[in-house]
Every structure is written in C-alpha cells, then in structure tokens.
C-alpha cells in the first residue's frame, strides 16, 4: 500500500502524525512531510487510523 496526500485538502493539522508518527510529520512551515510513502503489513492499522483521523479527508491509501 502507498500513502497519497491531497495537498489542496491538507491543512497541516497533524492528526495523522498523532496516529502514525513513523509515516507523517508536520514541518515548521505547516506543510505535511510524508516520512515513508509505503505502508507495510505491520503498520497498516496505524496508517488506516491516520486516514480516518484526518479532519479534511486529505489522505488515501492505494495499492
């Protein structure tokens, strides 16, 4: 699986980072940094949680 960010929707709130700190981090300029684009089996649950926790529905997982 791969993480896709809709940069227009993302407003840099960082809730994805709270759910999956290994994959997401909000930078000092408020822009979301995707630390790792690929999602392995073992961090799938976290990544799905990140997708659900985003208030602007900016994240998607694609295969």
């Amino acid at each position: 699986m791969k993480i896709v960010v809709d940069r227009i929707k993302c407003v840099g709130l960082g809730l994805c980072e709270a759910a999956a700190p290994t994959h997401f981090e909000v930078g000092d300029d408020g822009q979301l940094i995707v630390l790792r684009e690929t999602v392995d089996e073992q961090d799938l649950a976290q990544a799905e949680e990140a997708v659900r926790s985003c208030p602007t529905s900016a994240l998607k997982l694609i295969s």
Binding site: L15, A18, V26, G30, P55, T56
Partner: protein, 418 residues
C-alpha cells in the same frame, strides 16, 4: 465486559460526524448486519469546522464521505430529513415521522445546537451558526452587512470575526466575563489570545452583556445593541455564539440518564444507562481516564473517535473498547493557527519557545511535576509531539528539556549563519 452479543440491526440517530463514524466503526469491526442512519438534516454527513472557516468564504460542500459510497461500500440505509422524536427502550425502537424503527443496538449521535439568547432569536438579523443553511444565510448577510456584533468571545465567535473583518465589516465582540476562553485555554492564555482581536481591528469588550436590542421599527431588522455599560453600537447583524446545548430533549421520556447540563451519561465504553444503547460526540459526557474527569468535549477529534468506538461496541462483533483521549482542538484566527492539546484546568502556563509579540509561541501547562497541556500559536510542527508527551505522562522537566535542546540547536544555527 461480558462476551459480546452480535447485533442484527444497528440504528444510528444523528447523521453527522459521530453518527457516520459509528457506521464505519461497526463495519470496520466486521459487522455485517443492517445499519440504518437517521438524520434530521436533509444532507448526508458533512463537516462542520469548515462552516466558519473555508466554507464561509465559498468552497464546495465539505462532505465527510463520498455520497455515492453509502449504499454499496458502507451498506448503510440513510433516512434523512426528519428528526427522531422518541426512544422507546421497552420496544427497542425509535420513532421517526410517526413510524417506529426497531433496533437490536442503538448509537445516539445527535450532537449539540447553539445556545440562544432568550427572547431574541426571532428577530430578523439575529443569527447562530451550526449547519449548512446557517452558513449560507450568514454568508449572504455578511455581504450585505457593514456592522456586525458577535455575542461571545469563544472560538467560533473569533473565527466569524475573522471572516467578517476579511470582508471589510466593522466587528464588535462582546463577552460577559472578564476572561474570554477561560474554559478552553485557561485565564492567562485566554487574555493573550484575545489580544488578536484589537490587533486585527475588532473591538473586543469584556465584562459587558446585552441590555437591549433596537430594531428598525416594530418587528423590523436589528439596528443597534445597547450594552450593560450603557454604550450603544450600530449593528445590522447580531451573531450569537455563546456555546452549545446537547440535543437531547427528544430523549426526555425514554428514561435514559442525562447529566444536569443535558448531556447523555455514558461509561468509558460509551454505553448509556439503557441496555444496548451507546452514544458519542457532542451530545455526551463520559469519564475520560486520561484526564480523570467526567464531562463533555465539543471537539471534532473526540466526536470522530467516539463515533468509531461507540459503533464498534454497539455492533458487538469484537470485544468492547474503552475510550480515553488527550483532548485536542484547533482554530484559525486572522491567519493565525491556534492548536491546543490536553487540559488547562488547574495548571500553570509557561512559554517554552517564541513570544507573544511575534505571535508565534508554544506554551506548556504544568500541574505538579507533569506537563498536562500545550498551546501552540503558529507552531504547527510542535503540537502533536507535545500531545504525545502529554499522552505518555511525561514529567515537566522532560517536556521542557526538549525545548531547551531545540533552543540550543537554533542558537547554533544562528551562530553559523552569522
């Protein structure tokens, strides 16, 4: 908890954030039974935070989920446009439009509605903001308004002040207490944040209430307000933003336990006092194991997470989960991002990086030897890391050391660039 009993039909009352998440949470836990989502509004679930932010400035309807995905992907039947008028626990049914819909398990997610100023809500030009229609009329009203008065210096009031200033309106915010935002961020920081109003041309008046509303003739539109200190302010639009009340009056004959503030009493599993009835979102109070306090949280994040857990627990496929959280909210004022995590209750705030003058800082809240809260203004990279430290119950020394380290690094970088 005892072994779960799998429900056949899950009914959800309230089709907004918590209600939708309940449906998704039930499905995610493996629930294959029927789901009926009943909502008073005509719309499929949409998101509220944009209503006072982007959407107030004209954007697309912020649906929470692709409208085409309800039937096939989520397998949910949405019954929209009429409120549920009663819950009959003896019959295990709810009543909508005179018709009874039975449930095996139920999730209540009817949210909250703006508190009104008694006697004023019928007057043309007096408005509140909670739903899509409110936003449409507020947007139209703002276009035709020059002077707006906002009652309540809370978070949503400040966002609307922001939008109104952007459209060139003269804005006055009146606040009954001397300490705006005290409940949200504490006394001291409430005063600091409120300074953004005068700095951006909004007239903030604390410690005054509305004494009288004057209209253009009998039954006409609002024309001015008179405050308790005797001053009169020309006003074409009066926006009332003095908090919300849980939407639970429809439950009064059901026997469900409510708190004195009208919220539904839930346990840590988000179960109500009635069998097979769960609840989530702005309508509930629950014991938050993280803060050790029972109460309401009227935030997006808690409604989002509670909905998912209430749906899962109500479905009964998997073992029930308890819900606790480090509270979190954000807001955007005059182009500044405000983020808060944890609690300000009984805690001492201290600036750990930046300063008020630059309007860029982080304040941590100390209670005993621990960090319990964090407020970030224009520091978007910091807050989630502080939230994690609060979650892990870091000591004050650990939390502050992190910022000292950051300060040392910044000083080094500056030295190198000189």
């Amino acid at each position: 908890m005892s072994a779960p009993v799998v429900s056949k039909r899950l009914v959800i009352v309230g089709a907004s954030l918590a209600g939708l998440r309940a449906a998704e949470g039930a499905r995610a836990s493996g629930f294959t039974g029927e789901i009926v989502l009943i909502g008073a509004e005509e719309h499929l679930p949409y998101d509220r935070p944009p209503l006072s932010k982007q959407y107030l400035g004209d954007a697309e309807i912020p649906y929470l989920r692709d409208p085409d995905s309800y039937v096939h992907e989520l397998n949910v039947r949405a019954v929209l446009g009429n409120p549920v008028t009663a819950l009959r626990p003896d019959e295990k049914a709810v009543v909508v439009n005179g018709e009874s819909i039975s449930y095996d398990s139920l999730v209540i997610a009817t949210g909250a509605a703006p508190r009104e100023l008694p006697g004023y809500s019928e007057i043309p030009g007096v408005v509140t903001l909670r739903n899509l229609e409110d936003t449409h009329s507020l947007r139209r009203a703002l276009d035709a308004t020059h002077n707006i008065t906002i009652v309540g210096a809370g978070i949503i009031g400040a966002e609307i002040a922001t939008a109104a200033r952007k459209r060139g309106c003269e804005v006055t915010v009146i606040e009954a207490t001397h300490y705006p935002l005290e409940r949200a961020v504490g006394r001291e920081m409430g005063l600091v944040l409120s300074q953004m109003h005068p700095r951006n041309g909004t007239d903030l008046r604390c410690g005054v209430t509305l004494a009288e509303l004057r209209t253009e003739g009998e039954g006409g539109k609002v024309s001015s307000v008179v405050l308790s200190d005797g001053s009169e302010i020309k006003t074409d639009l009066l926006l009332v933003s003095i908090g919300v009340v849980p939407t639970t009056s429809w439950l009064k004959d059901s026997g469900i336990e409510l708190h004195p503030d009208g919220s539904i009493a839930c346990d840590e599993y988000l179960k109500t006092s009635l069998d097979d009835v769960y609840a989530a979102g702005d309508a509930i109070s629950w014991p938050n194991a993280h803060t050790g306090r029972t109460g309401r949280l009227e935030t997006w994040t808690s409604a989002n997470e509670q909905g998912a857990i209430a749906g899962r627990n109500a479905a009964g496929v998997e073992d029930a989960l308890a819900y606790s959280t480090v509270p979190y909210f954000w807001s955007d004022w005059y182009g500044h991002r405000i983020q808060f995590a944890g609690t300000a209750h009984d805690a001492e705030p201290e600036v750990v990086i930046g300063g008020y003058e630059e309007e860029k800082f982080v304040v941590l809240y100390r209670s005993g030897d621990h960090v319990v809260g964090a407020l970030a203004v224009n520091e978007p990279a910091k807050i989630m890391k502080d939230r994690r430290r609060i979650q892990q119950r870091s000591t004050w020394a650990e939390a502050v050391e992190h910022y000292k380290e950051l300060g040392r690094k910044l000083a080094l970088i500056q030295q190198e660039t000189v």
